[in-house]
């Protein structure tokens, strides 16, 4: 699902910052995701077809076509993302092959410039998907990777060769980088091409796009960025390995970052990560209460007296239980809210895709006049489909509202008469109807001052 979104649009060069940003985003996401990657990847035993990605890429490029300003806007800022992503990806490379890792670094750059080979990004993304496997299954996956490595190295090579056919003005840079790639280097050397790639892109852009002039004034944020600051996402499993290593090395005071790093033997980890983690660990160990309670603000003397008084009267444990209940409630609501937000966006995206498909079909059909009769019925079908989805979302909203102990009438099929509007608007209208017709159930909320009065009033009793 992610790859269809993140496929490189094929049209304009300026769009590649989006790609790079997306890549980093997807990378972060993939890194956090635990083991099983649902899609087939080049490094997994299954095979992968290249075909489907072409269609998804063209679909995506339609979406992105309009926001040219934003694309440029993102451009300058993407350099830190780029460098970060390249570096962090660098850090997360599976043990098996630093060589292919650098090749994929090249792919990022290549694919940006090469309009024909948009699918290469997908291959990168799939490549990235394997990274979290490595991360969280430190012990088990190492062997797996080693065996898969040889089978797939040839694939990478082929793709690398294909990607060499890029625009001429870019070639000198890429061939330099290729030379770097072909050496069997240590990681430090491989790190160097990445900053170059990201730095070179903004100036190249200047030639190609009209608006990029102002944007590039902000460009090259690479220099201020600190050399080793890739953002790493810790997991409990990783932490467990860390604790194990520390205890093996004589405890948190005696253990050194270097020793821990070596003992943990996780390829993607740097000493910087371990050092900062060790620091946090030491703090947490030796000040357990302050670390749990530091975030509480200092109460004013009056409040303190008030709360102590009440605490004494009904027991701290009870108060804590109360606090716990409220916190649980908040947590629950947040989960629900988050799921809703996801669904809403999913819905919107689905509609957008339907709309695009429909429009595309209409475009195609306009070339073959004989089948023009199908159009209205097709549109009708799409609308009905979208209304079904709306019902789905509406019923889900109902579930949520019911769980919030209010009953709302269910909405039956929304009006289909508004055919001509864009999916977002259409959806808006449809659900406006749902919202309007459901009885507004929220209790009247007094303003903050009133609630304050209430509590002070009650407290004085």
């Amino acid at each position: 699902m992610s790859s269809s979104f993140l496929v490189l649009p094929t049209t304009v060069v300026e769009k590649h910052p989006n790609l790079l940003f997306s890549f980093q985003v997807s990378l972060e996401r993939e890194m956090m995701r635990n083991p099983a990657s649902q899609q087939a990847s080049p490094l997994s035993p299954g095979n992968r077809s290249v075909g489907p990605m072409f269609s998804s890429s063209s679909r995506f490029s339609n979406d992105m076509h309009v926001s040219s300003v934003s694309a440029q806007g993102r451009q300058s800022h993407n350099s830190p993302f780029i460098s970060q992503s390249l570096r962090s990806r660098e850090d997360f490379t599976p043990t098996h092959d630093s060589h292919s890792e650098v090749q994929s670094t090249e792919f990022i750059a290549y694919s940006d410039e090469n309009k024909d080979l948009s699918w290469s990004v997908d291959s990168l993304l799939d490549f990235a998907e394997n990274v979290p496997v490595q991360n969280s299954q430190v012990e088990s996956s190492a062997g797996v990777f080693a065996s898969e490595d040889h089978a797939n190295r040839t694939n990478w090579q082929e793709w690398a060769d294909q990607l060499i056919s890029v625009d001429d003005d870019l070639e000198p840079h890429w061939s330099d980088i290729l030379n770097d790639v072909n050496k069997t280097d240590s990681r430090q050397k491989e790190l160097k091409p990445s900053p170059n790639i990201s730095v070179q892109q903004p100036p190249i852009h200047q030639h190609q796009t009209a608006h990029s002039g102002e944007v590039c004034a902000v460009a090259n944020p690479l220099s201020p960025a600190p050399p080793t600051k890739p953002r790493m996402r810790w997991t409990p499993e990783l932490h467990e390995a860390f604790v194990e290593a520390v205890s093996q090395l004589g405890g948190s005071e005696r253990a050194t970052p270097k020793g821990v790093l070596k003992h943990m033997n996780v390829e993607s980890l740097t000493i910087y990560h371990v050092k900062s983690h060790l620091q946090k660990y030491r703090t947490a160990r030796y000040k357990p209460e302050s670390s749990c309670g530091t975030s509480e603000r200092k109460m004013s003397p009056v409040e303190e007296i008030k709360s102590l008084d009440l605490k004494a009267s009904m027991g701290i444990t009870e108060a804590l239980r109360m606090q716990m209940e409220v916190q649980k409630r908040l947590h629950e609501q947040l989960e629900i809210q988050r799921n809703l937000q996801l669904r809403i966006e999913e819905q919107g995206r689905y509609l957008q895709e339907m709309f695009e498909k429909q429009r595309k079909r209409e475009d195609d059909k306009s070339k073959t006049p004989s089948s023009s009769l199908d159009d209205p019925s097709l549109l009708q079908a799409k609308l009905e489909q979208s209304s079904t989805n709306n019902k789905l979302v509406a019923s889900e909203l109902d579930i949520v509202k019911t769980s919030n102990e209010s009953a709302l009438p269910e909405e039956s099929s929304p009006s289909i008469s508004r055919k001509q509007k864009a999916p977002e608007e259409r959806n808006d209208l449809v659900l406006d109807q749902i919202e309007e017709e459901s009885s507004p159930a929220p209790t009247k909320r007094p303003r903050r001052d009133e609630s304050a009065e209430l509590s002070t009033g009650a407290a004085s009793n």
Partner: protein
């Protein structure tokens, strides 16, 4: 307008270290206004383009800020969670009834401290989830405004990216919260059942930072989700809290000024 105010309130109420980590909603709104006032064509195009670029740049840097902060906190929580587990185990093993040096007084004392720590820890994690969500909401809103004002189509693709950001993927924190809740069951003694009455009175103990923040967060959430004039299918339904009056009455006003 309303969200901006709510956000500001939330930021004021929040833990002090977190104050500058929230979304710069106001700033972004200013940019949107700037963009829509500068015409996109002819002599206004430069400002328009620049403001637009600045908008996106700011969005990206905000997201970066969220990610960094969120992951930093998450790492802390992982460590503290493990530490709490070990601490509980240690207390049970040494001071507990079947421990190496059983001592009821010391055990009770330690457990009291642990309980407090766990509850606050739990609360802090929930507040981080809230942080994530409120920033997401802010982003969604500002993107909607942008699209509305400029007629652009930035919202949909951009929000898809946001959905994949580390700060929005709160699965791990959520898991830790759940585990905390289980831990609490083992650490809290079983109580008698006149709890409801006691609770109503004991709510005003909500003077502690975390608890107060949690209440504030719930209230804010409810406020934000009230029906607005621009309610659309991208809006969330209103939030209904069953113990509304309970929660509301526990919300303290701002510190009483000492004259």
């Amino acid at each position: 307008m309303k969200f901006g105010k709510r956000l500001k309130q939330q930021v004021q109420e929040t833990l002090p270290d977190w104050r500058d980590k929230y979304l710069s909603y106001k700033e972004l709104k200013k940019l949107v206004r700037l963009i829509s006032s500068a015409p996109p064509f002819s002599y206004g195009s430069v400002e328009h383009g620049m403001a637009g670029a600045e908008f996106v740049r700011l969005l990206n840097s905000e997201i970066d800020k969220f990610n960094t902060f969120f992951m930093e906190q998450e790492e802390d929580y992982i460590i503290r969670h493990e530490e709490l587990k070990q601490r509980i185990q240690k207390v049970i093993d040494t001071l507990g009834p079947s421990g190496s040096q059983p001592s009821e007084a010391a055990y009770k004392e330690e457990m009291r401290k642990i309980r407090k720590n766990i509850v606050n820890f739990h609360g802090e994690m929930v507040l981080l989830e809230n942080y994530s969500n409120i920033n997401y909401t802010g982003l969604a809103k500002i993107l909607k405004k942008y699209d509305k004002r400029t007629g652009g189509l930035l919202r949909l693709p951009f929000i898809q990216k946001v959905l994949e950001q580390p700060f929005f993927i709160t699965d791990l924190v959520s898991k830790l919260v759940k585990q905390c809740e289980y831990m609490i069951d083992t650490v809290f003694p079983v109580e008698e059942e006149e709890i409801m009455k006691e609770r109503r009175e004991s709510i005003r103990v909500a003077g502690e930072g975390i608890f107060r923040n949690t209440i504030a967060a719930l209230m804010t959430m409810q406020e934000i989700r009230r029906g607005s004039s621009t309610h659309s299918h991208f809006s969330l339904p209103p939030l209904i809290l069953p113990d509304f009056d309970l929660i509301q009455s526990s919300q303290l006003n701002s510190p009483i000024p000492i004259v």
